[in-house]
Amino acid sequence: MSGQQIDHLVKMANQIALNFGEQRDLSRAAQCTAEHLEKFWTRAMREQLSAYADAGGEDLSPAVRLVFAGQSDTQGSQRP
């Protein structure tokens, strides 16, 4: 996987979280982001992003980190 592709995935995931209201409700944004990734992203893309998160995920937004850290306290917070 190229650096360009993971940059793109990170950008898209962050964008999704932001549009799900990350700045208003982090937990809910994480839940919605997780559901969105599950519904619309390929397994390979999710796994690439997950691997990036596992490696520190420094450019991931807080809600996306929460998705992959499994720290969301609401339903659907499990890893996509």
Binding site: M1, S2, Q4, Q5, H8, M12, Q15, I16, L18, N19, G21, Q23, R24, H36, E38, K39, F40, W41, T42, R43, A44, M45
Partner: protein, 949 residues
């Protein structure tokens, strides 16, 4: 069954709507018609033909020709039947000696100034004047041609599609009235008085005038004054077939009129529900591409794009492609191949492509060009209303009191609906336009927008939120509707969000660029002006917040109760002819036909049982995912049907690199398009005239496409896909597209009542069409939303990353022009290029002056990802800080400049916002020079294939 040619029936005056029945007698025949019906129409309905010249049922009665006179018992004189409404008990005589004498006298006067060249006249046998002369028994003209006459009047042959021969004009004004009443352009007038009266296009000729070449005047002309050049050159058609236009999402019904297998004319079908007898310059005239010499009709293969093409048999080409695809999958895994289908293709074709991918490729890597136009509509409307489709029929606009057009330009991109909309505006409906440009509707003949909000590109969501803020905080919302029809919890959260001060028009003014007072006034009008309908287009969807904007539009409609009845609603203006249909047919990688997600085991099970294969429950790749993965080496084989991604998708250089990285690109198209220049296998496609099928337009209307000539390549597209599937070991066994539709109906609840037999009977059907709605559904969400309660999604305004700055100070937005269609593959191969031979850059005079740019100068347009060169057009239609162009010509490279930014939910590209700098230049861009070189090389490789064959 062959339909022999005859003119479409004309009842003389339009139908009266809904009045009480009036009983009368015409020539002794009893008949009942609605009050308001003319005597002429009543007679036609009774089977009695009254001679006429100036009347047509597409126009309001005019009463000028004096041929349609009748006698009415108890009345003096001879009233014109076209302008006389029926009355109870009326006794009408249409044939009496006195009437015959009067009519002959009138006809004699007409013919006294009309050339008697019927045998050599292009409309001989299809001329109302000729017919009427026969009907009234005209046998001689006493006046001769010695006196003053118009027989030497000069023809106007400037329009490439029709000729104006004033020598044959009887000044009935039908053309002038058609231009006004039907098209709404007001390009024609009657100039002069008495003997000097003549039809005029102003000071210029037809081509140089305001005429938009819709053909309404040609349709209306009862003589050979306005005649299609194809008829002049080839003669009157001898048989006809009803079919559906393959251009925009209006989906006009047409009568293909033929001599043998040659289409000599396309006339708008009067019974076509989407267009009701009207057309535009594309559908009416621009069909010549179907037989253009550039058509490729023999399959071709090559091992690399550096090699010449080799013409081969169908079998060899399909085996070549199948072998390559299987080899790729063996080496790189099941998910290393995929397909892109096109909204230009029929429902049956795109259904087969997604079936091939899911059942044959064994993955879900299927996407469609709706990805790059209306995918946010699918997401946004599904989320809020529960169904990924517009809510109304086109006729609904006839009942609208307030029309809001946002990010759409109907008079250019959906012209037949644009004419209907303009007619409603002339009747008095109010208009709000939200667009960075001053589109035609803002200020057109007899139309002026009440409010034009010139939003900054990228700020639609801010404007829509601000409108909702005004409505909510000023208590203009429909509380009853919301309480009854909408989800209480989501509304409460949304209300709190939208009422917050940061959503006020004043707070958002810097972002929107819109005067807060105008915005407040527009919001008040939308909320309280009666039936309010929203029409939107790609200017809404093609943004990084496209899905949010669609949801904000749905919120506005629910907030004000403007949904679920005639005259209101949320109406996405679909770009291509079958955008709605291709989405309906499961062409997105995450869902099966009927918008059902792959993860739904029950639905998946139905398809597995029908197709006898196990389906992958995981979503596949979207188009941009495919290109990213191609560059990463994970995606190596692509079957691209009818879509020109190399020209239409954003960041051209990125697309070209991805296509170049593929091991096997299979392109199915009618021309060697830009994408095909990167292909290894070329499968010749069929135009819409060469195949059977259905298209579904923007109002969910399913209409038949009928084969009127054999496929030039020998195969219709559905047959090619079926043969490709067979080569891959995925057997399909359809003998006719009707069987494919039967399968769609059996597996898709919203289509369960659809069949070719019912379509033939009804003409067209709007889905859902099933047990609950056996004749279809013109208006959706009447009693409840498809999802149950309407959902108010919170619509944060998240500004795009694509910002103007000192280096890129202008915002580029893109759009379309009337005469060209999308990438121009079809229209560039017609005479439509007479109106638009190149794409230009619209720039405000202030911005031009700052850069020393004058009208017609070559200018470089530099964005963060690329640059291109176009000629400049100085205009105040764009505001300072905004520039605009179209993308109809490959060499323009508009998408070399657009970026990878995309809608957060769907990855629909952000075509509408690109930060650029513009400067005067004297040479094409480096990309353009490369593109021209590559184009020459690929044409040469194609020519060598043809020479070797």
């Amino acid at each position: 069954m062959v339909q022999y040619y005859e003119p479409q029936r004309d009842y003389g005056t339009p139908a009266a709507s809904g009045g009480e029945a009036v009983a009368l007698q015409i020539d002794g025949i009893d008949i009942e018609v609605p009050a308001g019906t003319s005597v002429m129409r009543a007679a036609a309905l009774a089977g009695v033909k009254v001679p006429k010249l100036c009347a047509s049922d597409s126009l309001e009665a005019f009463g000028s020709c004096r041929v349609c006179l009748v006698e009415i018992a108890g009345r003096r004189g001879y009233p014109a039947s076209c302008t006389t409404p029926v009355e109870p008990g009326m006794q009408v005589q249409t044939q009496t000696p006195a009437l015959a004498k009067l009519r002959r006298g009138v006809m004699e006067l007409y013919i006294s100034d009309h050339p008697l060249d019927c045998l050599t006249c292009p409309t001989n046998g299809d001329c109302e004047l000729q017919d009427t002369a026969g009907e009234v028994g005209l046998r001689a003209v006493r006046y001769g041609f010695a006196g003053a006459n118009h027989l030497e009047a000069e023809k106007d042959q400037s329009n490439p599609y029709f000729t104006f021969d004033p020598a044959k004009c009887i000044v009935c004004s039908r053309c002038v009235r058609a231009c006004e009443e039907v098209q709404g352009t007001f390009a024609l007038t009657i100039e002069g008085r008495g003997f000097d009266s003549r039809v005029s296009v102003g000071a210029t000729d037809f081509l140089g005038s305001d005429c938009v070449s819709c053909g309404a005047c040609v349709n209306a002309c009862p003589t050979a004054t306005l005649t299609e050049n194809s008829i002049i050159e080839q003669g009157i058609p001898e048989h006809t077939a009803i079919t559906t236009c393959a251009y925009c999402g209006v989906g006009c019904g047409f009568r293909a009129e033929l001599r043998g297998n040659t289409v000599v004319r396309m006339t708008p079908w009067k019974d076509g529900r989407a267009n009701e007898g009207h057309a535009c310059v594309k559908g009416r005239f621009a069909f010549g591409y179907a037989t253009h010499p550039d058509r490729i009709t023999t399959p071709m293969v090559r091992d690399s794009i550096e090699q010449p093409w080799r013409e081969v048999s169908w079998d060899e080409a399909l085996q070549f492609a199948a072998r390559r695809f299987r080899e790729i999958q063996e080496r790189h895994g099941r998910n290393s191949i995929g397909a892109i289908s096109s909204s230009r293709c029929t429902n049956e074709e795109v259904y087969l492509v997604q079936k091939l991918v899911r059942a044959g490729f064994g993955n879900n890597n299927i996407d469609t060009c709706a990805r790059v136009c209306h995918s946010p509509t699918g997401f946004g409307l599904k989320t809020t209303l529960g169904e990924s489709a517009g809510t109304q029929a086109f006729t609904s606009v006839d009942s609208a009191d307030v029309i809001m057009v946002i990010g759409a330009n109907p008079t250019e991109a959906h012209p037949v609906f644009g004419s209907r909309l303009k007619r409603r505006l002339r009747e008095g409906a109010r208009l709000i336009v939200i667009d960075p440009r001053e589109i035609e509707l803002v200020d057109a003949p007899h139309i002026r927008a009440d409010y034009h909000l010139p939003v900054n590109p990228g700020a639609n969501v801010a404007v829509l939120n601000a409108m909702a803020h005004v409505i909510a905080t000023e208590a203009l919302h429909d509380a009853g509707f919301i309480a009854q029809r909408c989800d209480r919890e989501s509304f409460a959260s949304w209300l709190e969000f939208v009422s917050a001060e940061h959503n006020a028009p004043e707070a958002l003014a810097a972002a929107t660029g819109v005067d807060p007072e105008s915005l407040r006034a527009a919001a008040r009008l939308y909320a309280s002006g009666g039936n309010a309908a929203i029409y939107y287009g790609l200017g809404v969807t093609e943004h990084s917040q496209g899905s949010t904007a669609v949801m904000a539009i749905a919120n506005l409609a629910m907030l004000t109760g403007n949904i679920g009845r005639e005259g209101v609603g949320v109406n996405p203006m679909r770009g291509q002819n079958n955008v709605q249909g291709s989405c309906d047919m499961g062409s997105f990688p995450h869902e099966l036909p009927g918008y059902r997600h792959l993860s739904d085991a029950a639905t998946r099970g139905q398809f597995e049982a029908a197709w006898q294969v196990q389906l992958d429950p995981e979503p596949g790749m979207r188009i941009p995912n495919m290109f990213d993965a191609a560059l990463d080496g994970q995606f190596r084989g692509l079957y691209c049907q009818g879509e020109d991604v190399a020209q239409s998708d954003p960041n051209t250089q990125h697309i070209e690199a991805a296509l170049s990285a593929l091991e096997c690109l299979v392109v199915q198209d009618i021309f060697l398009n830009e994408t095909a220049k990167f292909a290894h296998v070329f499968l010749p496609g069929a135009s819409f005239l060469e195949k059977d099928g259905t298209f579904t337009n923007a109002e969910r209307r399913i209409s038949r496409v009928r084969k009127v000539m054999p496929p030039l390549s020998g195969k219709a597209d559905w047959e090619v896909t079926q043969a490709f599937a067979a080569a891959l070991g995925c057997d399909m066994d359809y003998a006719h597209p009707s069987q494919i539709m039967d399968e769609i109906a059996s597996l898709t609840p919203t289509f369960s009542g659809v069949s070719y037999a019912l379509l033939d009977e009804k003409g067209s059907l709007q889905w859902p069409c099933n047990e609950s709605a056996p004749e279809g559904t013109p208006t959706m969400h009447r009693d409840e939303f498809v999802r149950g309660k309407g959902y108010f999604a919170i619509t944060d305004f998240v500004a795009t990353d694509e910002r103007a700055n000192r280096r890129f100070p202008l915002l580029l937005t893109t759009g379309r022009i009337l005469s060209q269609y999308n990438v121009g593959a079809q229209t560039r191969r017609t005479d439509n290029s007479a109106w638009h031979s190149e794409d230009t850059l619209e720039i405000h005079p202030h911005d031009a002056q700052e850069r020393g740019v004058s009208e017609g100068d070559w200018v470089g347009i530099q964005s963060r990802v690329g640059n291109t060169v176009l000629r400049a057009t100085l205009t105040t239609r764009v505001k300072p800080g905004v520039v605009y162009t179209t993308f109809h010509h490959p060499v323009s490279g508009a998408n070399v400049v657009t970026t990878d930014n995309s809608d957060w939910a769907t990855n629909c590209p952000e075509y509408k916002v690109t930060a650029v700098q513009v400067s005067r230049v004297s040479a094409p861009s480096a990309w353009q020079a490369r593109q021209q070189q590559f184009d020459r090389k690929q044409r040469d490789l194609l020519e060598r294939a043809r020479t070797d064959a």
